[in-house]
Amino acid sequence: MAEKVKLFVNGQDVEVESGKNLIDAIGAVGIEIPHLCYHPALGADGNCRMCLVGIEDGRPPLVPACKTMAVEGMKVQLDTDKIKKIQRDIMELELINHPIDCPICDQAGECKLQDYYMEYDGQKSRMTVPPVAKAKHMDFGAGVVHDQERCVLCARCVRFTRLITKTGELGIVNRTDSARVTTFPGRPLANRYALNVVDLCPVGAMTSKDFRFKQRAWFLAKSESLCHGCSKGCNIYIDHNKEKYKDDIIYRFRPRLNQQVNGYFICDEGRMTYKLENDNRLNVAQVAGKETSVNEAVENVRRVFSQAKKIVMLISPNCSLEQMQAVKKLATANNAVVSGYSDGYIKTGDGDLFLIQDDKSANRAAFGLLGLDSSKAGFESALVEADLVISFQNDLCRSLDDADIAKIQDKAKIVYIGSYKDGLGEIAAITLPVAAYSEDTGIIINADNILQQYDVAVRKNDPAIDLLQIVTLLGGEFKNREEVLTDLSATIAALNNIDLKHIPSEGIALTDKEVSNVAA
């Protein structure tokens, strides 16, 4: 716990954390100081002046809260007439050349200019001259579309490209009322995190080409989840909406703050994986290439399962910890071998030093925790006697080529239980759709051994059965997720002291001793 200091805010005692500026310190106890340019990940720039506050200690009449640290005994004034007038004046200046095209602006509903106008301004425009015209819908590259007229010149986007990605594509050119954000000719936005500028922009000046005009912000349900794009497990919001007579559809992923994992940002590729959740879903069961009902497919799986002599259960590094444990126990009870072979999920050299990892799966660390083998040799030796391979979400086609898969098919039946239209689903003898992570609850452990939980976000009209239920139907010992959690806590030493039923939202850092697994 950080040290506490006592402040007097508008004459009231408040206790805040020390070592923070007034915006963050006072904001943490629920008192808002309006600000446009300050962002905790980008530091204080001091350019917007919206955060001016009074400090009664003889310093200049007003100071920017973003650049003022909270110290013991400080007397802070936020609501004097003078401050209110300044806030109103700044809003008036911001709005002089603003197009106020909220009805067609994506940001409407989550726009600082709208919020602050209602809260701190509220006056009619006094402008009688036409506003300065600037460029609209400029394609900045990397899926970012910019509207110069909506920009309040807070420079968050510019600072993001200079301080965070260090690619520096953006700049503010010209000066005075001509100032505007732009890119240098021939050097567009070209970094793997560019879409974060859309979230950072306090107004609707930065928009996502992908999301533009798709949904009004206030229709979107914002559910907390975890990106499954790689083994970083970035915290996200799944913004989705179920329109009347339609199904629950995801419209975008946005980063969700977790200092321990991803900070304020996510990568662009991960952000776009929401499309897989909508469009790449496996939603029909198939037996021998023919569409069937889910029940019939389940019956077929049960039959081949009971008839098989030697089974290999191929588990995906994207399965949750609970799913892995349930499959592992099912295998033990049936004298089957579990393999996590999934080399194809690793793109060596693709990761960077920021968020993106080589391993494009979300939960490989759990293999180590549960002692699941993921080596190719292990998988191959398990295959020797096998006459049935059941894949749980594992798209073997990512790791093996057609010829290798054909060899497996010669001697063994392949059953695919998965959520996506994967290669293996197309060639499997039985294909059974199950819920994807956006529709399910589960635990994953990221590349840095941080254990986190995701919850049901999307509720489809026709919900898919979840993978744990299938395992139960195949004779697995657990009746529900609770039972798996109890078992995990009891049998896995590293989890003995962890309450898996109440995982804090920032996750739990397992120490290195507890998890020995490294990507295969």
Binding site: T161, R162, E169, N174, R175, T176, S178, F184
Partner: protein, 168 residues
């Protein structure tokens, strides 16, 4: 200030000539960081070509090792950097507060009529170019006009007529 962000691309790569190259290397040693070379390097490019092209800005950024966007910012901020070829006589009129209040608009309107060009343009014969600029630091003697860097203070239309007559 007019929009100066529409850079002109010549299609020809830019490099410093031998003299400016040597000058760049001499100056760079004077500063603690290479970014400090943005202003002098832009001057060198302008001295060499008379104006600064997109290629010159890109070259300077790469030569210094900074972002092109940053050099672009500096080049467009200061109206003393010419971002297109100028007329033989380059006329700047201050448009900031003191000059504004003391009648810069009459001066600009007169020049527009007389020269047939708007701020940011060059006359067809290449004789004149016109620019509205921010405070030139001579507010006490506003309104202020600058021709090829030289100041003309306390200006009005009559004085401007006389001045134009001498520019040939």
């Amino acid at each position: 200030m007019s929009d100066r962000s529409q850079l002109i691309e010549t299609g020809v790569p830019f490099t410093f000539d031998a003299q400016r190259d040597a000058e760049f290397e001499r100056l760079v040693k004077r500063y603690p960081t290479r970014e400090s070379m943005i202003l002098p390097a832009l001057w060198l490019a302008q001295e060499q070509e008379g104006w600064i092209s997109a290629e010159a800005i890109g070259y300077i950024a790469d030569r210094i090792g900074t972002f092109a966007s940053q050099v672009f910012e500096v080049a467009t901020f200061y109206t003393m950097y010419n971002l297109h070829p100028m007329g033989k006589f380059h006329i700047c009129v201050c448009r900031t507060l003191s000059c504004y209040l003391l009648g810069k608009q009459e001066i600009v309107d007169y020049l527009k009529r007389e020269l047939g060009i708007k701020p940011g343009e060059v006359s067809k014969d290449g004789q004149f170019s016109l620019e509205e600029v921010e405070c030139l630091g001579h507010c006490g003697t506003a309104p202020v006009v600058q021709v090829n860097g030289e100041f003309y203070e306390n200006m009005n239309v009559d004085k401007l007529k006389e001045l134009l007559a001498t520019l040939k």
